[in-house]
Amino acid sequence: MSPKTPSRVELLQGTLDLLILRTLLPGPMHGHAIAKHIQRTSENLLQVETGSLYPCAHRLEAKGWIAASWERSDKGKRAKYYRLTALGRKQLFAEQSKWEAFARAMGLILDPVGQENS
């Protein structure tokens, strides 16, 4: 059996888009790898449900932010690889700065002293 995740964080609405876009920034990846990457990088705090990953990936593809192509995987199997498009890159930076502003604002409100000290 897989090890128990210590505690999971519910994904905020709309953040999965940003996570997928960011994950694809270094290079093309297939769906499973995306999920694993997010899980690993977040130290298992974020678990991406397959039930939302694929619909989300297809939605991003429909918007033209990511593109898909069928390639051979490391093990030689056919897999669908997603990569960031120019449009997606622009979107990623816009979303990212928006998110950072939001996170800063949340931080200011939740912990005003700590923010001042830093």
Binding site: T50, Y54, C56
Partner: protein, 904 residues
Amino acid sequence: VSAFFRKLRWLTQRDRKEAELREELEFHLQEEAQQRQGPGLTEEDARRAARRDLGNLALVQEDTRATWGWTMLEQCGQDVHYALRTMVANRLFTTLVVLCLALGIGANSSVFTIVDALQFKKLSIQDPERLAMLRFDTGQRSQYNIPYESFERLAGGMAPFADAAATFLVERYNVVVDGAEDRTDPAEVRIALVSGNYFALLGVHALRGRAFTPEENRLGDPREVAVISQGYWKHRFGLSPDVIGRTLTVQNTTYTIVGVAPSEFRGDWIGRPADVWVPFAVAPRIMAEIPVAAGKFPTRILARLKPGVSLEQAQASTDVIYERFLTAQTAANAVSQATTQRLVLEEASTGYSPQRHTFEQPIRILIVVAGLVLLVVCTNVATMLLARSAARQREMSVRAALGAQPRRILRQLLIESLVLAAMGGMTGVLCALWGTAALTRALAAGPAGVRSDIVSQSFMSVRLDPQFDGRILAVSLAVTLVCGLLFGLVPALYASRRSLAAGLGVKGAPGAASRERFRATAALVMIQVALSLVLSVSAGLLLRSLRNLETQEVGFDRAHLLVVTTAPVQTGRIGAALPPFYERLRQKLAMIPGVAAISLTNGGILDGDDAGAPTETLPIAGQAPKPGILSRRFAVMPGFFNTVGLSLRAGRDFNEHDAMTAPKVAIINETMARFFFGADYPLGHRIGDEHMEIIGVVRDAKYGTPRDHRAIWYVPFSQNIRLMQLNWSLAIRTDGPPDGMVEEVRRVLREVDSTLPVINVTTVDQLLGDVLVQERLMTQLATWFGGFALLLAALGVYGVVSFAVTCRTNEIGIRMALGAQRRDVLSMVLNEGLLLVIAGIVIGLPATLGATRMISSTLFGVNAADPLTITGATLLMLAVAAFAAVLPAYRASRVDPMVALRCE
């Protein structure tokens, strides 16, 4: 736009997309399984774990598909497909529902088509919104007839109008085609007399040939030309292409056909379509019954507003013009009464139609009945769907268990209802085609005499030309949609809310859910009972009213009277030529064996015309004007009262001494005597402008209609020769039954003058039937639909009681095991069913009283709240419901306790 094309492209590659999605998810599973495969985990276990981790595969696919777009549409497509399959599987249910809906929707579409054709449809002319009509308004009465002379003078100074045209419609008989005597059309032909600019003003272009020119319409020197309708071209000339230049002969004047009007244009009078148009200036030849100079002929005036001028602005200018016109008029011949009336402009985009007023009540009844029937149908279908949703509970639970959301189930059920409604709607439109044709035919029927009488003000029949166009389809579609939602929503809401466990649980265990559903069904059945009570009582009242009208004492002898309606003036005889013609006719007819007496009046007997002048306009010497009822004057020959069976109450009949030069005399009816003189002795008083002496009082007769209660006064033809130019009602008293003599009378009439139009030869009973034809139609429709509603309510009661019995089989079994008798079970079930019906009746009674008040003005001799009818309908309702409840109740009483309990 690009998103749309992307979606479109994806739609075309849908199958490939599906396969790719499957492959992608499969790859995911393999990858996951591989990573999990480690110590102590077989490949199979790993795979299963991966699968579990992925969750509901179908749901993932569904959700992913949703991002492709089109899913909504696709799912709806699937739902429609599924609905159709379900419907085929339940053929009986489907057929029943579709038929009910077809009837309900068909009835409403037909009624709407008729209402549209009579009330709302715009004339097929250029810019109908710019067309206006002129009428005189005295405050109480409207009058569209304006002397042609006034029209010409008004038209000259009509600044706000681009143009004005005059028209007048008459019916003529014996129109000769191509001058060949053997090609005489004995039927009525509606001839519209129009000013030369009529077609140009309306913007109607001839289909063939040309329309009139103003030069063809010079008073005193008209051209004998005619434009015919497309219908008449087809009917009389078989659409022959050489119709232009051929001729029509009307009353000895031959008109050359110069044009054919387009098929969609039948004149500006809705309900009385024109067959032939001729220049107005020929009026003295066509309307010989009006003994005046051409300029004094009545016309109706149509005007086209100048561009940019509103109706209000035009009215203001018209007021000024009319003021000026009146001043000139008064200076010339001091007309004083004209100053009390206004010349009013009204919008005429939908044409002219006094029938709109005559048919107001019948059409309101039609609308209400059709609407009620649709409501009954909808509640009935909702009941059936509810019952069926009980049977489909398992199916719904399985769907829910497989991950279908309540919204999805709701949508699927609604789509099923809409598909049912759509099929009902389509069948309904077919029914409506038939229903509209039948209604149109029925509405065109009516008394024959009045149609050809130009002084008549009543229009008991209406000839419509309803077209089934896009708007009517749209309305049918809207009705269908509303129906689908109406009857589908409640059952669908119930079904989609079902909890999983209840449906998948043990069969036959009635939970709270089915009790709730039972309550909803019971409520629907109560509504059905209430609605059908409204319809039954209305139908009952109309039936009683019709019976009263039919058996009403009309005053005329029903058993021994034959009435001939004819228009001798159309043979070209006028004035002094008419009395000898009557004498010749009388002598010839008297020779027919079985004829006892013959007399004449110009008042149409039971011809549907019950118009008259207000009593205050009738001068009585030594009395102030007394308003209250209507009065009408008819001329008769001596012996008329004896011939038709009316007895004199006082004084004497007219006789040969009442000649032209003798003192003017009159006979009044009892109503008039009572109204003006009360207890006084009426004989010797003087009446009318000519101070006629009242020499007799005659019994009341129902003259125009069985509802007639006018003050009628009679004058002798001998002192009023001009009145012989109006239509004749020849009264022939027979020794035996009159029916058999119709042919013989017709033969004699033909023999005396073959050009004499014979409008009708018939009995009093037949006349009464003709005059009541619309009331009979309304009554029949109300009765049929009332019966239909009753049947549906009975079905509903049957359904709900059966449902209750099924739900309670266990309970009944236990009761019987504990010693309940069959009789007890029977009466228990029956009582509960009847309780429902009684509740429905209690709801229905106030609604009934409200509905019948709406038809109270049509009722005759029966009160809108007639206790007898209401009691009767209620008892009928109870009896039918009891019958419907007995079957399932009997089944309940046959329940075998052992079997019932073993089910558990």
